[in-house]
C-alpha cells in the first residue's frame, strides 16, 4: 500500500483550484494499491449530507469504475448543459516499466553503484506516475463534489457509497460498442458544429476560440512532454558520468585523482537537481497543459450537445411547418417544437454559465502553475549555482 500524505497531495493538486472546500461533501483518495497493471483506489468520503447512509466511509474503486461514472454522467440528458469534468486517463506505467526492463538488460555494463542509482531514479519515476494518476482521479471526484448539480447525482452517490464491486453496473460489451459509435458521432459533431449558423455571438466566439485553442494546447502538451523527457535523459546521463568518474578515480594514483573525485561528487548532486527540474516541469507545465486540454475537450462536448439541440430544434421547426402544410398532427409537432426550444434554451443558458466559469477557472489555474513553475526553476537554478560555485572554489583552492 502506498500512502500519500497531505503535503504531497497539496503539492500535486495544482491543476485545479478551489476544490474540496465544501465541508458538506469531502472526498479524497488517501490510499492506492498498485498491482501489475491495475490500480485500486481507496475513495474516502466525509459528509454531513443526510442523503448518505454514513457520515464517513471508504470504498475501493478501480479506474474502470471512474470511467463508468463519467460516461453515466455524460449520457444523462439533464446534464447536457453542463461541462462534465474530463475522465481521468488510464494509469500508464508503460514508460517506467520499459525503462526498468532496459535497465535490467544493461545491468552487466554498469557498476553496482550506478545500477542502484538508476534503479532509484526509476523507482522515483514510477512513484511520480503513480502519484499523478491518484491525483488525477481525485481531482475528477472533487470537481464533481464541488459542482452544485453534479454532486447530487444518483450515480455519483452510488459510486461513493456502494460497498460492493461495481463491475455489474459497468459497461458490458454492447455498451462498449455503443461507446465506439459515440466517438464516431463525435467526429461528425465536429463537422456539424463548424457548419451551423450561430445566432448568439457569445457562442460563436466560444466555438471559434475553443476549437482553435484545443488544437494549440494539444500541440503544446505533446511538445512539453518531449522537452521534459530530454531533461530526464540528461539527469540520467549525469548519473552515468558520476559513476564512471568514480571508477576512474578509484584506480587513480596520480595527482588528478582529487579533481576527478570532486567532479564525480558534483555530478551526483547536479543530477538530483536536474531530476527535480524535470519532474517539476512535468507537474507544473505539462500536467497543466494536459489537464486543460482534456477540460477544453469537455467544453467542446458541451458545445456539441448544444449544437445537436439546436439542430433538433430546427428540425422540429421544419416538422411543424410540414405538419401545418399537411394540416396533420399539428399539436404534436407544436409540442415537440416547444420542447426542443425549451431544451435548447435551458442548455444555452447553462452552457453560458459553465463556459464563463470555466474561463475563470482556467485563467486562475494557469496563473498559479506558471508562478509556481517560475519559482521552482529559479530555486533549482540557484541550487545549481551554489553547487557549481562550491566545486569551482574547492578546485581552485586545492
Amino acid at each position: 500500500m502506498t500512502s500519500i500524505d497531505e503535503s504531497d497531495k497539496e503539492k500535486l493538486r495544482s491543476v485545479s483550484v478551489d476544490l474540496n472546500n465544501d465541508t458538506a461533501l469531502l472526498i479524497d483518495i488517501p490510499d492506492a494499491l498498485c498491482e501489475r497493471d491495475k490500480v485500486k483506489f481507496t475513495v474516502h468520503t466525509k459528509t454531513t449530507l443526510t442523503s448518505f447512509q454514513k457520515p464517513d466511509f471508504s470504498v475501493p474503486r478501480q479506474h474502470e469504475d471512474f470511467i463508468w461514472l463519467h460516461d453515466a454522467l455524460v449520457e444523462t440528458e439533464d446534464y447536457a448543459g453542463l461541462i462534465i469534468p474530463p475522465a481521468p486517463p488510464k494509469p500508464d506505467f508503460e514508460s517506467p516499466r520499459d525503462k526498468m526492463h532496459k535497465l535490467g538488460e544493461g545491468e552487466s555494463t554498469m557498476t553496482k553503484e550506478e545500477y542502484t542509482k538508476m534503479k532509484q531514479e526509476l523507482e522515483a519515476e514510477y512513484l511520480a506516475v503513480f502519484k499523478k494518476t491518484v491525483q488525477v482521479h481525485e481531482v475528477f471526484l472533487q470537481r464533481l463534489s464541488s459542482h452544485p448539480v453534479l454532486s447530487k447525482d444518483r450515480n455519483f452517490q452510488i459510486f461513493l457509497e456502494y460497498d460492493q464491486d461495481l463491475s455489474v453496473r459497468r459497461k458490458n460489451a454492447k455498451e462498449m460498442f455503443g461507446g465506439f459509435f459515440k466517438n464516431m458521432v463525435k467526429s461528425a459533431d465536429e463537422v456539424l458544429i463548424s457548419g451551423i449558423k450561430e445566432v448568439d455571438d457569445f457562442f460563436e466566439q466560444e466555438k471559434t476560440f475553443l476549437l482553435d485553442y484545443y488544437s494549440k494546447i494539444k500541440d503544446s502538451t505533446a511538445k512539453a512532454e518531449k522537452m521534459t523527457r530530454s531533461h530526464k535523459n540528461i539527469a540520467d546521463d549525469y548519473i552515468h558520468i558520476s559513476a564512471t568518474l568514480n571508477s576512474l578515480c578509484a584506480e587513480d594514483s596520480t595527482p588528478n585523482k582529487k579533481n576527478l573525485e570532486k567532479l564525480s561528487d558534483l555530478f551526483e548532486r547536479l543530477r538530483k537537481v536536474e531530476g527535480r527540474v524535470a519532474s517539476d516541469q512535468e507537474l507544473k507545465l505539462t500536467e497543466l497543459l494536459r489537464y486543460y486540454m482534456r477540460d477544453i475537450q469537455a467544453a467542446k462536448d458541451l458545445l456539441y450537445r448544444r449544437a445537436r439541440a439546436l439542430v433538433d430544434y430546427e428540425n422540429s421547426n421544419k416538422a411543424l411547418d410540414k405538419a401545418r402544410l399537411k394540416s396533420k398532427d399539428i399539436p404534436q409537432a407544436e409540442e415537440h417544437q416547444r420542447q426542443c426550444l425549451q431544451k435548447f434554451d435551458k442548455l444555452s443558458e447553462s452552457a453560458k454559465k459553465e463556459l464563463t466559469s470555466f474561463k475563470g477557472r482556467r485563467v486562475v489555474a494557469f496563473r498559479k502553475n506558471l508562478i509556481e513553475m517560475a519559482e521552482l526553476e529559479i530555486k533549482h537554478a540557484k541550487n545549481n549555482v551554489a553547487l557549481l560555485q562550491g566545486c569551482v572554489d574547492l578546485l581552485k583552492n586545492n
Binding site: Q205, F209, M227, H240, L248, S253, N256, R367, I378
Partner: protein, 596 residues
C-alpha cells in the same frame, strides 16, 4: 606487451634471454650521465635568454668531483614554465554554429606587435575561433616581467646538473641497483634499506620535478582561420598557424604559416620515428576522418561540417600547444620547421590509402606480434604497474567519453525540443483570449526561446571542453602506452644482440678448437662489434627507461593541471548559464503574477 611480473632474479622465464650480469649492474653508468648532461647543455645553450648566470661550481662544495672530465656547463636559463597548458585555460569554447554572436576577443589582439605585414591575430573566421593560444597585447610586457622576476631569484632554482651530479655520486657510492633507489622515490612504500647512500636521491628527483614545474616556455601558438582551398575531391582545408615567441632559436618573434591537416600528421610521423625521442610521450594529432572531410570537400555548409572543422581546428591547436610545451620536442628542428617554414613539402606518407600507408599498417601489425612472442622479465615493477594503470585509465576514459557524448546528444535534443515548444507556446498565447494570460504565455514562449539558446551553448561547452578533453587524453594515453612499447622493443633489441654475441662466442670457441687462424680473426672482430652493440643497446634501453619514467611523471602532472583547468572552465560556463537562467525566469515571474 606482456611483462613478466617476476621481481626476483631466480624467476627466469624460459623464453627470456638474459645475461647473468643483468641484475647486478647499477643502472646509471657514467656514459649515461654524460649523455644526459650533454643533451641538457645543448638545451640550456639554445634557450639562453638574457638571464643571469648560475654558476654551478659553487654549489658542488660537499661533493666529490667526478673522475670523468665533465664539460663545464654554460649558463642556463631555468626560468621556463609551461604556459601553453595554462593558456588553454583562457580558451572559451566556441559556440555551435547555430549561434550568431561573433566572439569579439580576437579582434583585440596584438596590433603593433609584429612587423610581419598582416595583423595575424585578427580573425575573420566563422564560427569565430576563440581558441587563444595567443596572448593579448598587454601580455608581452607581462611575459618579460615574469621572466625578470624569476631570474631575480636564481638561488631558489637549483641547477638540474647539480642534481645529476648528486645522483651520480649516490650511484657510484651505492651498491644496490638504482632501480631500487628510484623505486624509493616513486613509491612511498619503498624499503628503507637503500635510504642511507641514496640520501641525496629523493631531493634530486623531486627537484627535477620541481624544476620542470618552474619551466616557462615562451612560445605561444594558435591555429586559426580554417579556409577551404581548391574544389571538389582535391580540396583541402588550410589553417593558419601563428607563433609568438621570444626564444632566440626562432628566426623572428612572431610569424605565421599555412598548414593543412596532412602537415600536422606528417610532423607527428617524423617525431615518432626519431630515435632520440624514443621514450618520450609524443602528443598525437586528431584522427583522420574520411566522412567528415568528404562533406567539407563536397562543399556542404551545413552545421555539422562547420562543427567538424571547428572541432578539428581546436584539436590541432591543442596538439601544437602540447608539442611546444614539451622541452625536448620544442628543440626539435622538425617542429621549428613546421612552425616557421613557408613552404612545407607535403607529407605524402600520411595518405590513408597510399602505399606508404599500407606499409605502415603492416609494420605496426608485425610489431605487435613480435611484442607478444618475447616476454620481458622486469626487475622493476614500476613499469608494469604503470602500464596496467594507463591501460585501465584509458578504458575508463573511453567509457566516460561515450557517456559525455550521449549527454551532448541529449542536450542537443533538449535544445530542439525547447525551440519547438517555444513556438507552440507562442501560438497558444496568440489563441488565448484573456489578455493578461495571453501576454504571459507569449512571455513564456520567449523565455523558452532563451532557454534554447542556453541549452545550445551548454551543449557546445559539453562537447568542446569536456568531451574533447577526454578524447585528447584517450589519444595521449595511447601515446604513453606507445613509449612503454618502445622501451620493450629496446629491451628486445638488446636481448637479441646478446644472443647474437653469445652465438659468435660459441662460433669462436669452435674455431679455436678447429684451429683456423684466419677465420678466427674475423670471428674476433665480429665479437668485438657485437660487444659494442650490446653495450650500446643496453645503454639505449636504460636511457629510454629513464626517459619514460620522467615523461610519465611529467605527463601525470600536466594531466592534473590540464584537467583541473578545463573542469573549472566547464563548470564556470555552466555556472554562468545557470545565472542567466535565473535572470530569465525572474523577469518572467512578474508577468505570471500579473495574470488576472
Amino acid at each position: 606487451m606482456v611483462l613478466d611480473c617476476g621481481r626476483k632474479p631466480e624467476n627466469q622465464h624460459a623464453s627470456c634471454r638474459k645475461t647473468p650480469s643483468w641484475d647486478s649492474k647499477p643502472r646509471t653508468t657514467f656514459y649515461q650521465l654524460l649523455h644526459h648532461t650533454t643533451s641538457r647543455s645543448q638545451w640550456h645553450h639554445l634557450l639562453l635568454h638574457g638571464v643571469s648566470v648560475i654558476h654551478i661550481g659553487d654549489q658542488q662544495g660537499s661533493l666529490q668531483p667526478p673522475t670523468f672530465p665533465i664539460p663545464s656547463l654554460p649558463p642556463g636559463t631555468l626560468s621556463l614554465t609551461t604556459r601553453t597548458m595554462a593558456s588553454s585555460a583562457d580558451r572559451n569554447p566556441p559556440p555551435f554554429p547555430a549561434s550568431e554572436e561573433p566572439q569579439p576577443e580576437l579582434s583585440d589582439m596584438a596590433e603593433g606587435d609584429s612587423d610581419e605585414g598582416e595583423d595575424i591575430f585578427v580573425s575573420n573566421s566563422h564560427p569565430a575561433s576563440v581558441s587563444r593560444g595567443v596572448s593579448q597585447p598587454e601580455e608581452p610586457a607581462d611575459l618579460f616581467s615574469e621572466e625578470a622576476t624569476t631570474t631575480a631569484k636564481p638561488n631558489g632554482v637549483h641547477s638540474d646538473d647539480d642534481d645529476l651530479f648528486a645522483e651520480a655520486q649516490a650511484d657510484l657510492s651505492s651498491d644496490p641497483s638504482s632501480d631500487s633507489t628510484r623505486k624509493d622515490l616513486s613509491s612511498s612504500s619503498g624499503p628503507p634499506s637503500a635510504r642511507s647512500p641514496a640520501a641525496l636521491q629523493p631531493t634530486s628527483l623531486e627537484q627535477l620535478e620541481e624544476d620542470e614545474a618552474k619551466d616557462i616556455f615562451d612560445v605561444d601558438v594558435a591555429v586559426t582561420n580554417p579556409e577551404k582551398v581548391g574544389d571538389g575531391m582535391n580540396a583541402y582545408v588550410a589553417y593558419k598557424v601563428s607563433t609568438r615567441t621570444s626564444l632566440p632559436m626562432f628566426k623572428s618573434k612572431a610569424f605565421t604559416a599555412r598548414r593543412r591537416f596532412s602537415d600536422f600528421l606528417g610532423l607527428y610521423e617524423k617525431l615518432s620515428a626519431k630515435q632520440s625521442l624514443h621514450g618520450c610521450i609524443i602528443p598525437p594529432p586528431p584522427e583522420k576522418s574520411v566522412v567528415g572531410m568528404t562533406k567539407v570537400k563536397v562543399g556542404m555548409d551545413d552545421p555539422s561540417s562547420v562543427e567538424f572543422v571547428e572541432k578539428r581546428r581546436a584539436a590541432l591547436e591543442r596538439y601544437l600547444q602540447r608539442i611546444v610545451s614539451h622541452p625536448l620536442l620544442l628543440q626539435d628542428p622538425d617542429v621549428r620547421e613546421f612552425l616557421e617554414r613557408d613552404d612545407l613539402p607535403r607529407a605524402v606518407n600520411t595518405q590513408a590509402l597510399s602505399g606508404a600507408g599500407f606499409l605502415k599498417m603492416i609494420t605496426k601489425a608485425s610489431d605487435a606480434v613480435s611484442k607478444m612472442t618475447i616476454k620481458m622479465n622486469e626487475s622493476d615493477t614500476w613499469f608494469e604497474d604503470k602500464f596496467q594503470e594507463v591501460d585501465m585509465e584509458e578504458q575508463q576514459l573511453r567509457k566516460l567519453h561515450a557517456v559525455v557524448d550521449s549527454l551532448v546528444n541529449h542536450r542537443k535534443e533538449l535544445c530542439m525540443n525547447t525551440a519547438v515548444f517555444a513556438k507552440s507556446m507562442a501560438m497558444l498565447g496568440n489563441s488565448e483570449d484573456n489578455t493578461a494570460l495571453s501576454r504571459a504565455l507569449s512571455q513564456l514562449a520567449e523565455v523558452e526561446d532563451k532557454m534554447e539558446q542556453l541549452h545550445q551553448e551548454q551543449a557546445g561547452s559539453d562537447f568542446f571542453i569536456f568531451a574533447e578533453l577526454l578524447a585528447d587524453y584517450i589519444r595521449l594515453l595511447g601515446a604513453v602506452r606507445g613509449c612503454f612499447d618502445q622501451r620493450v622493443r629496446a629491451w628486445q633489441r638488446w636481448q637479441e644482440a646478446q644472443s647474437t654475441l653469445q652465438k659468435k662466442r660459441e662460433a669462436e670457441a669452435k674455431l679455436l678448437w678447429a684451429n683456423k687462424p684466419d677465420k678466427l680473426q674475423q670471428a674476433k672482430e665480429e665479437i668485438a662489434e657485437w660487444e659494442a652493440k650490446v653495450t650500446q643497446y643496453e645503454r639505449d634501453f636504460d636511457r629510454i627507461g629513464m626517459t619514460v619514467r620522467k615523461e610519465v611523471l611529467r605527463f601525470e602532472k600536466e594531466k592534473a593541471k590540464d584537467f583541473k583547468s578545463q573542469i573549472i572552465k566547464y563548470l564556470e560556463a555552466m555556472l554562468q548559464s545557470q545565472q542567466r537562467l535565473i535572470k530569465f525566469w525572474e523577469a518572467f515571474l512578474p508577468e505570471a503574477k500579473a495574470i488576472a
